[in-house]
Subunit: 431 residues, 2 copies
């Protein structure tokens, strides 16, 4: 039954039922955590053969000893794999340490403080300052980098097929302080949206703006993270940028953090040869080079994209039931109720839930008091502020299915309870 | 015979002999590389058990799964080890990725651009700018960080017991733009000097300067790298800083790059709890945390400092003959000749050679033409410029002993040849 259809009397009854249900959850002493997109222990175990896989043979195909110093770009075998992964050429790839976030941070830092084309080109020194477009809801750690470096953020709404390109284009045309846009093009964090061909094509044109280019930050964190084996196509950004002549203004990122080990995988970035060269000059100052031994382990374990896809099917088998469970509980408890809407992604790590405006923080607090930790309200927005206080990110990957089920039940109860309470208040105010 | 004692005739004869010897080396088709302080393949092999050491058990002592996300500070086991290594408390240590250079860079960056105590405290914004004291000859990659970030450098002469503290103190008293000093306190790169107690004590007082503190950058890269088992004592800097009340103004660094795998070891830093907390706020933005799996491998392989010291004895057994060979050839060819002086370190990775002024670049070029690559002239000085053009860094760790022997013979021949040629020119000019 739709929330708006309830009489005041019915709402009061429903409210009492829900409070009783809620108290029962509280009495259950739950301690569940749906805050972060973390692979479960079972998922991590899929890659356990990594340690020991070298069997004493630390040499690369070209004879280099992986244990020694050197090799800013990473090992050739890993660059080949990463190039196919990101849809660029091997010469357009650099494989780093265990964190793609670090590569993003260092690239951003180089462009902002140091300049990719000499000190004069640094964003920081430019009149009007530097700002970024941030599709929302988005990934909190992208926004944290902007905040840390003092780069202003302009939120842009996310649609089911990517950022709202009309708004993006008009902002870019009007404001040359905009130096980049954050994109998670496949199974976007948190909505799960996959960018449409049309959106990718329009994005590829952006850096051609008169008044100076901007960078497309293409964080393809969930490039191979579909829930079933049917491929979810994504238009090749670099190819399209080459057509548009904007290939020097795109940086692509990926990692095996949710493929092998979350904290001990490989991170990589793609960019044109010229852009990579510009970045290398800064990167070289800050490191002795990446851990080549771990890169070698990874290419022995995952020699090609077929091996990656096979492994990802095993991940999918573990993740699917958890996401299905969330969908089932949400549908069962909230479908047609007018208490919120949510995404049903075909991959990735999140479900994005939009409650009625003004209720997200309240729902999250209620859930916490019943033993279910959710991502803090506003986390998916710049500066942690959701202007409508309605977005909630659900991350069901880590707990066991039974716990996901219990946690989602609690969540649904909290949504219902807060929605009914708010509707009652509305009725009281309007009377 | 001393160079100054030769007659012109004798010099001409000697020059002809040396040219003949040099041409013979050239005809030998050598291809030797003494440029960088790299562990040899045999040294790397000492740590080969690292891959596979976990035997499927990825759990830390506290039950945490090392494969997952999280843990900005590194794993507790590794922090305990690093604390003893650096001479600080476990709460004063953070274990990072594979590169201590990255930790130095990120700390410097945070202090310079972002501010450790809020944006106002950033060095960059301060009147008079930021500068560093650089004991010379020193480590090129330290100086590269300063150059990259636009931090001016003031060279300070290195003595056998550390930097010339009279000069250091007078510069620090006179110039509040000085924000730090680079120190490699044990087996300094490249002279091999070990800082005396007196120097450490005077350094510990520096940050107490009126007009604002400066940071001691304490890169203890060769903390456990002695050539024999007799310990080479080094006064504990952090303890002394605590006595002086300057404990918040020191950052200590170390790594296993020349203990386990050069490119796949552990890097760590030490600092007071307050300083670490200030740094963590910036560090947290740039990473998902270090590779805990590799940290766990390392503590299984090196559970305590006794294990480290045992391993280092095996390294020493491989390094000693190479350094002895260099000393033998230098003594044999150059002792009492007035053609240069050199260090005879008790540990570390380098021998520092001072040729007659004006000859370093020439000697290095000559050696290269005979197939022996040496570190570029000036590398051990800020901006790569040795004002006297006399310092040459010899790095004999990587090649086999026979090759070190051949390379040092070539080097000695080049020193002799260039010195004799120069002496001849002097005589011609004075006549």
């Amino acid at each position: 039954m739709h929330l708006q259809a309830y009489t005041r009397e019915q709402l009061l009854t429903r409210s009492r039922q829900l409070e009783e249900q809620y108290r029962a959850f509280q009495a259950g002493g739950l301690d569940l955590d749906l805050t972060r997109g973390k692979p479960s222990i079972a998922q991590l175990a899929l890659s356990s053969p990594l340690d020991g896989i070298l069997k004493g043979d630390y040499r690369l195909a070209d004879g280099t000893d992986s244990r020694g110093y050197g090799g800013l770009d990473g090992i050739p075998e890993a660059r080949d794999l990463a190039a196919e992964w990101l849809g660029v050429r091997p010469a357009e790839v650099l494989v780093g340490g265990n964190s793609s976030l670090t590569l993003m941070y260092l690239f951003m830092l180089s462009a902002h403080f140091l300049g990719l084309q000499g000190a004069e080109s640094a964003w920081r020194g430019q009149a009007g300052g530097a700002s970024f477009l941030c599709p929302v809801p988005g990934y909190d750690r992208h926004f944290a980098i902007c905040e840390e470096l003092g780069i202003a953020m302009h939120p842009v709404p996310m649609n089911a097929d990517g950022p709202d390109m009309d708004i993006v284009e008009s902002k870019v045309a009007a404001d040359t302080s905009i130096k980049g846009i954050w994109c998670v093009p496949r199974f976007s964090n948190p909505t799960g949206a996959v960018y449409s061909d049309q959106v990718v094509r329009r994005l590829a044109k952006l850096p051609g703006r008169s008044g100076g280019g901007l960078f497309l930050f293409w964080d393809n964190a969930y490039a191979v993270h579909a829930f079933d084996s049917a491929p979810v196509p994504l238009y090749n950004l670099m190819d399209e940028c080459r057509i548009q002549g904007t290939q020097d203004q795109v940086v692509l990122f990926g990692s095996t953090s949710k493929v092998s080990f979350a904290g001990a995988g490989l991170a990589f970035m793609g960019a044109s040869v010229d852009t990579l060269n510009a970045f290398r000059q800064h990167l070289a100052v800050s490191t002795i080079g990446p851990d080549k031994v771990n890169q070698l382990r990874h290419v022995r374990f995952l020699p090609d994209m077929n091996a990656v896809r096979e492994l990802m099917q095993r991940h999918a088998a573990l993740l699917r039931p958890k996401f299905q469970c969330v969908q089932n509980r949400l549908r069962e408890g909230l479908e047609g109720c007018g208490m919120g809407r949510w995404t049903d992604p075909a991959g990735g790590y999140f479900v994005s839930f939009d409650a009625l405006p003004g209720l997200a923080a309240r729902i999250i607090a209620r859930a916490a008091q019943a033993g279910v930790k959710l991502t803090p309200a506003g986390a998916a927005f710049p500066y942690g502020k959701d202007p409508e206080d309605r977005n909630i990110r659900l991350a069901p990957s880590y707990p066991e299915v039974d716990d996901v089920d219990r946690a989602t039940q609690v969540f649904v109860c909290c949504v219902q309870l807060c929605s009914v309470e708010q509707r009652l208040k509305e009725l009281d105010t309007s009377n």
